[in-house]
């Protein structure tokens, strides 16, 4: 049990100056289930990319440090090389061909071919690609792999139409079937499973481990991690926090380690005198955003506050703003400023005074080839009919007012550019973000949604953006900020809603203990102490934001 199969030694990785992994040392023993825990951006996926020699690593200058397999340093240059060395991965998104049977998927590109009769001849002439498949042998292999997991899937079923849980098992079976498999990485394997399926999976993992296959288990569900793993490693901000035997730790400690106790928050205590009136009520919101599905969110936003929305990636926090704005199909009851807000088209939300800064700056937020001034004026022009001049029944682009507005915004927000005519695609990330915010501000909104405002921009620019948001809130704008960076939410928000598995796990005070944040993100909200939370629905006797939090936690957090 104690021999190390794989060792990461002093792994450091930079992405264009940004250190995402710092001196990480992890040993994976043979036959153990090793859990890997961390927030988004903690470095889990970078570490796995390094293990699999993904092109994204090598095209960005490689990494420092050594990987050792069986005590020998290895240099993995491509996923196929990793495969040859017996390292397999089960991805979060399924790599299965829907029209193929289970067997065909398990044996994809590793099909068994016949080597007798006519095939001998064809092989000599055309090579091995013209050999017929030995389907019975392939089926036998598939059955063997499926039996290892003790799950009753028939090998001749077509994958399309199978329950997602079964697809997950097929994925794993494919990795097991690789003859030399020694290390299996499971990335959030239980996310799509029902409870009983998850139990079966953990059981199967144990079986595999008994056969000597090591497993790296990445999951956000801390209870499963404590149930399934032998040892657990916590990563935070690219640093190794700790590697511990699972039996020596518990969910609360892991949550705390994951989020980080020691992080000091430069919280600007803003005594924002929000009126306390509810400006936006969301009831039972469902949003069909792929990868960020929202399934039943209840939330209230008060006038003048900054509400933070946090949670791990894929849990649905980004879906809320996107669904409300109408970018994805959504249903639910939303009341903005006393009037019901119909979902499904951005026009409704925008014209009623909501502005939105998307998390996908380049994909949704900007017209990259167009100049700054047009990007800033666009929504106001289209929705509020500003910046237009009428000639007869037609309305045309009014260059002067657009230019004037852009100049004003460039000055106010300190957008670094050569002129208002520069295409936004040429700006730096931070300045692009400012252009997005400028467009939102030009709409003069009463409620501003900002998603991931600091993603992919440097530290200086981050601070500028956050300060800007604070300033806007001080001027009386209501802001709902969605972010993966908890520290940033805690530094400027008045309340922080944590989204887990498509629902609000709870609403926390910004100064609540780190462990509470960790627990809520990991689906263990029931362990959070009540006094650190807000109720989902604000009691009728409203109160001022920034007042004493202590009396409020009466209704508890989790659902």
């Amino acid at each position: 049990m104690s021999t190390n199969l794989l060792s990461f030694k002093n792994i450091t990785k930079n992405y264009s100056g940004n250190t995402v992994l710092k001196n990480v040392n992890i040993d994976i023993r043979s036959g153990e289930i090793h859990a890997l825990v961390g927030e988004n951006g903690a470095g889990k996926s970078t570490l796995m990319n390094i293990l699999f020699g993904m092109p994204v690593i090598h095209s960005t200058g490689g990494f420092e440090g050594v990987m050792e397999l069986d005590g020998k340093a290895v240099d993995i240059k491509s996923p196929f090389q990793a495969m040859d060395m017996g390292v397999g991965m089960v991805h979060q998104e399924f790599m299965l061909i829907p029209g193929f049977t289970v067997t065909e998927n398990i044996k994809i590109n590793r099909e068994i071919t016949r080597d007798t009769g006519l095939n001998k001849v064809t092989k000599k002439i055309f090579g091995s690609r013209i050999q017929t498949l030995d389907r019975p042998a392939m089926s036998a292999d598939a059955v063997k792999a499926l039996e290892t997991m003790e799950i009753g899937i028939e090998e001749f079923t077509v994958v399309k139409g199978m329950p997602v849980g079964h697809m997950q098992f097929v994925e794993i079976a494919r990795e097991i079937d690789k003859t030399n498999i020694r290390l299996l990485v499971l990335d959030e394997p239980t996310a799509v499973l029902t409870e009983s399926e998850a139990e079966t999976l953990i059981h199967a993992m144990r079986n595999l481990a008994k056969k000597g296959i090591s497993i790296i288990f990445i999951s956000h569900r801390l209870d499963e991690i404590t149930a399934a793993s032998d040892r657990v490693t916590v990563l935070r901000d690219g640093e190794l926090i700790i590697t511990k035997d699972t039996k020596d730790t518990n969910v609360i400690e892991l949550a705390e380690l994951m989020v980080g106790r020691g992080v000091s928050i430069d919280r600007v205590i803003a005594d924002r005198a929000g009126s306390g009136d509810v400006i936006l009520t969301i009831k039972d919101l469902h949003v069909a955003m792929p990868g960020e599905r929202v399934s039943g969110v209840d939330l209230e936003v008060r006038k003048g506050e900054i509400l933070g929305i946090g949670g791990l990636a894929g849990q649905g926090k980004l879906g809320i703003a996107n669904g409300l704005i109408g970018l994805y199909q959504a249903k639910g009851e939303v009341v903005f400023d006393g009037k019901p807000l119909p979902l499904g088209n951005a026009r409704n939300a925008l014209s009623s005074g909501i502005a939105y800064v998307s998390e996908d700056r380049k994909g949704v937020g900007l017209l990259l080839e167009e100049p700054i001034e047009l990007n800033i004026a666009f929504t106001s022009m289209q929705i509020h009919n500003k910046f237009l001049q009428s000639i007869g029944p037609f309305r045309f682009y009014h260059a002067q007012s657009i230019r004037a507005n852009a100049r004003q915004m460039i000055e106010d927000l300190d957008i670094r550019c050569t002129s208002a005519l520069q295409p936004v695609g040429r700006l730096s990330g931070g300045n692009q973000q400012k252009v997005c915010v400028a467009r939102a501000l030009t709409q003069k909104p009463r409620l501003l949604f900002v998603s991931e405002p600091t993603r992919g921009i440097d530290i200086g620019a981050k601070k500028l953006i956050l300060d800007l948001l604070l300033k806007l809130a001080d001027q009386g704008m209501t802001i709902v900020m969605t972010s993966s960076e908890l520290a940033e939410l805690r530094s400027i928000c008045d309340r922080i809603a944590i989204i887990c598995e498509g629902k609000v796990a709870g609403i926390l005070k910004p100064d609540a203990p780190a462990a509470d944040f960790g627990l809520m993100m990991s689906g263990a909200a029931d362990l959070v102490k009540e006094e650190t939370t807000f109720p989902h629905v604000i009691p009728p006797d409203s109160f001022a934001v920034g007042a004493d939090f202590g009396n409020l936690g009466t209704e508890g957090g989790a659902e």
Binding site: I97, G99, F100, E104, I108, N109, T113, R129, T132, Q329
Partner: protein, 497 residues
């Protein structure tokens, strides 16, 4: 899986709407024609089936050449025109030299197949490279590239032959000298000479005999696929052996003389023997494995009824010596060649390469991640298609008897694509059933359009051609449009609540 029956029927109709539509058109055309110009159904049917059998085999290779690119995810390969161009170039070369060499028809035919192979491989390779650069827009690119290639082809045979390469002015395929005494370019039409019917006319057998052979072959195919799915019983090889014996007997009998009734009995016995095989194997599986069930009962019974029906139809006509015996004789050798190709393609689809075609066709991304060389696989698929199209064009032209130098290739792409779509194929799904259904239905439609045109537009000349082309382009637009629309809807419903 809890679809109600009505929903299933709805889905089936939507999936097969093009097939049903064209079946309707063909039946409408035949019934409404009132027996054609002569007004006599006997004459009408004789000419209908004579035309049909010629057209089906004339176009068979061209249509089947579209199958592999569809499976490999390239969509419908409009670029088969390039294969046709390769074949025409080779044939022109052969026709030019034939003037001096005087080969036999079959030798020239085989030489055309042989020489067009390397040229088609080269063209296919280039087309495949192009397709890799325009992923997602292969169909429009295929269309444009075939126009491009046709331009180059015209340039070569109108101008380079004569101006740049010196040619014999007296050669019958070279255009007559112009006012300045220069012989430039190839004639507008070139006679295929001895190559005409080189393969079609080797063996011709009466149409009804041919139907009988089809029935036996189909029965054998049913047995084979039914049994092979579940185990590798060596006894199943007896089935094709038996079919072969009966087919040979029928063909030989046809060659010997006019003892038609014996042939009818042979055909009946041939199909009956296959049905016995089917019962025997089904029973055996049932005994060995009590859980054994026939996977697709509907399709199995449909196939059985169809092949019995064909057999009975043939037996009746042969024994009664009806007017159907006056239908033009079927080109048996071409049919045999088609059958060989059919078996070859089935074999390819059973190999690793075939599996890779399928994997790439369903998801390029997953195939790539699994280590399959996607680009190379796509190029191989295009080469297959181009080569088959080139051979298909040789077969097409030997049947036609004349090569319209600057026109023959132009409609090959559209007509073949329309045919396979009429057979129920889509841009992502095509099988041999689609090919055969499409060949028959599409050409039935082209035969009956003049009659339909006459019903609606009277005897105005040219309208039949307009109607036919409208149907060809309309069916391509309709089938592709429906498919894209269905796919979009499916992906939308996947991303809905």
């Amino acid at each position: 899986m809890n679809n109600s029956n009505s929903e299933r029927i709805k889905a089936f109709l939507l999936d097969n709407i093009v097939v049903i539509l064209f079946l309707g058109i063909a039946i409408f055309g035949i019934t409404a024609s009132g027996g054609g110009i002569t007004g006599n159904y006997t004459v009408y049917f004789i000419s209908f089936f004579s035309e049909l059998i010629e057209r089906v085999f004339r176009n068979s290779f061209l249509v089947i050449s579209l199958m592999i690119p569809v499976i490999a995810g390239l969509g419908l390969n409009f670029g088969i025109v390039i294969g046709a161009i390769a074949a025409q170039s080779v044939i022109l070369l052969l026709r030019y030299h034939q003037f001096y060499l005087e080969m036999s028809g079959i030798a020239e035919f085989l030489l055309a197949l042989l020489l067009s192979l390397p040229l088609a491989i080269l063209f296919g390779w280039l087309t495949g490279k192009l397709y890799n650069k325009v992923r997602g827009q292969e169909m429009i690119a295929g269309m444009i590239v075939s126009y491009f290639a046709a331009g180059v082809y015209n340039l070569v045979f109108l101008f380079i032959v004569g101006y740049v390469i010196e040619v014999d002015k007296l050669n019958p395929i070279i255009a007559p000298a112009n006012l300045e005494g220069l012989a430039v370019g190839v004639r507008m039409t070139v006679d295929m000479g001895v190559m005409t019917g080189a393969i079609d006319n080797i063996i011709r057998i009466p149409f009804m005999f041919f139907i009988m052979i089809c029935a036996i072959t189909m029965a054998c195919y049913i047995v084979f696929t039914q049994v092979r799915k579940f185990n590798r019983d060596r006894k199943v090889l007896l089935s094709p052996l038996c079919a072969l014996v009966f087919i040979t007997a029928i063909v030989v009998w046809n060659g010997l003389g006019s003892m038609n009734r014996v042939a009818a009995v042979l055909g009946f016995l041939g199909v009956a023997a296959q049905m016995c095989f089917l019962l025997y194997f089904t029973f055996r599986h049932k005994r060995e494995n009590p859980d054994y069930t026939v996977q697709n009962k509907a399709s199995l019974s449909f196939n059985c009824v169809l092949c019995s029906g064909m057999m009975l139809w043939a037996v009746y006509n042969i024994i009664m010596n009806t007017f159907m015996m006056r239908v033009r004789q079927a080109p048996f050798a071409t049919a045999l060649l088609f059958a060989v190709l059919f078996i070859f393609l089935s074999y390819i689809m059973k190999t690793k390469l075939g599996q890779d075609f399928r994997a790439v066709g369903q998801s390029q991304h997953i195939a790539e991640v699994s280590g399959i060389n996607v680009k190379r696989t796509r190029i191989i698929a295009t080469i297959f298609s181009t080569v088959l199209a080139a051979w298909g064009m040789v077969i097409f032209l030997q049947n036609m008897g004349t090569l319209t130098t600057y026109d023959s290739h132009r409609h090959v792409g559209f007509f073949s694509v329309a045919a396979i779509l009429v057979g129920g194929a889509s841009t992502s799904r095509a099988n041999l059933r689609n090919v055969i259904t499409g060949l028959i239905l599409f050409h039935a439609m082209t035969i009956v359009t003049p009659d339909i045109a006459r019903i609606f537009f009277g005897d105005t000349p040219g309208v039949a051609e307009y109607l036919r082309s409208f149907m060809v382009y309309g069916v391509i637009g309709l089938a592709l449009g429906l498919y894209v629309w269905k796919t979009l809807k499916a992906s939308q419903s996947q991303n809905s609540l």
